[in-house]
Amino acid sequence: MDLEKLRETAAEVVAREDVKYLIGWKNGSYGYRVAPAFIEDAEGAAELIFSPLCISNLSTYLTLVEKLPLPRGQEPDTRKIALMVKGCDSRAVTQLLVEKGIERDGVVVIGCPCPGMIDYDLLAEKYPETEGLSEVKWTDDGFLVIRDGEETNVTRDELLAEKCRLCRYPNPLISDIMLGEPVETWEPAEDKGVEEVDKKDVNGRWAYWEEQFSNCIRCYSCRNVCPLCYCQDCILDRLNPTWVNRAVNFSENTAFNIARAFHLAGRCIECGECERVCPANIPLGRLNRKMAREVRDKYGFEPGLDPEAEPFQASYKPDDPEDFIL
């Protein structure tokens, strides 16, 4: 993508009367770090980037922003929030519209067609992070890693993030402004992660998840980063009734992870953020993708495609499968 064009467009957008700020990506402080940027003027817009390192899903900030009660007599600020989205992120926006978590009038969606992002862990393992800022660019058949002025060509297969291998919608599905031409879609890879667990027997799966969930430290990063975990009254925080005890042990961890995966069934748009931020490296994506697959195969529903769709768990079809019923 042409960065000049991106910055120019962003500057135009933030200059608009009806736009409060723009959320995009900018360079972090060292190595491969990329930080979210909240841009209010042309100066800020000049910092924006879009590179294979912009893996984070910024749509979570739409609901993460704290809405304090207004002092009496003060009018609410109804200006729009502009947001840069990749293909997967755009589905989160659509799903938020479906759930009425945000209003269409409240956002300006800036679509960035996405050729695929880099798996940060793989990258840092092969090409350790430098103290100075490094850069990564797309090339015709992979990535160009620039560290301390030294350029390395890497094939796409080597570093592509898992969620991008599986991606079916790299082009934003909803946007007000589209930056650049749509990218060519690719054949999604087979989901080996889910299959690996799926082919175990029931006890094998329990053993597998027991090992994984035992590592969970209940930091709730997965919930907080998720664009669709924005319930003001999350069951995990509730004391009465206490759905999940606060104790960190296998039983409660499992209950928590089941509860969250269940709440995301038919809503998760597979942006992979939960798995990316998990400090315990729990393969949460497998859980969510498995549910997404079931919803797609059995119920013919995919979240985040159609803003007019009915929410999956708050609707039904008379001919939903019922082969499991006695």
Binding site: R205, T254, I258, L287, E294, I325, L326
Partner: protein, 143 residues
């Protein structure tokens, strides 16, 4: 699971069909296993799928949710919602490694006392085969 290898079953029954069906089984003196603890709810649509998880966590070896046949719901569509949500939950639990024999759902109408007996027998039998589910029990800390 009690000492003599009898599974504990928690059953959520809707007020209008399955609860009445179980009642009919009782008044008709149909014999069925006594392992079932019945919890009456107004509608299966009211059964939060996490109840199932919670019951397993708190000592149940098997869970049963039963309501009106599709189309017969007292509230018109509650059981349709339940079917979708609990079907998903069953898939999820299976993927996490909870034995699918631990959770069943059924449609039992107010006139189906005999079907109720069959459903209970099946649920108890399955839970017995699946065995005690200690791994998932809530850890209680004794201070």
């Amino acid at each position: 699971m009690s000492a003599n290898n009898e599974p504990n079953i928690v059953a959520f029954l809707c007020n209008w069909c399955s609860y009445a069906g179980a009642d009919l089984a009782g008044t008709s003196r149909v014999h069925y296993p006594s392992n079932v603890q019945v919890i009456r709810v107004m509608c299966t649509g009211r059964v939060n799928p996490l109840y199932v998880m919670n019951a397993l966590q708190q000592g149940a070896d098997g869970v049963l949710v039963s309501g009106c046949h599709p189309g017969d719901c007292h509230y018109m569509e509650g059981n349709y919602y339940a079917r979708r949500r609990l079907g998903m939950l069953k898939d999820l639990m299976e993927f996490v490694g909870v034995d699918p024999r631990r959770f069943h759902m059924s449609w039992v109408s107010a006139s189906e006392g005999h079907k109720w007996k069959e459903v209970v027998e099946k649920t108890v039998e399955d839970a017995r085969e699946a065995g005690s589910f200690e791994g998932f029990r809530r850890r209680q800390i004794d201070w």
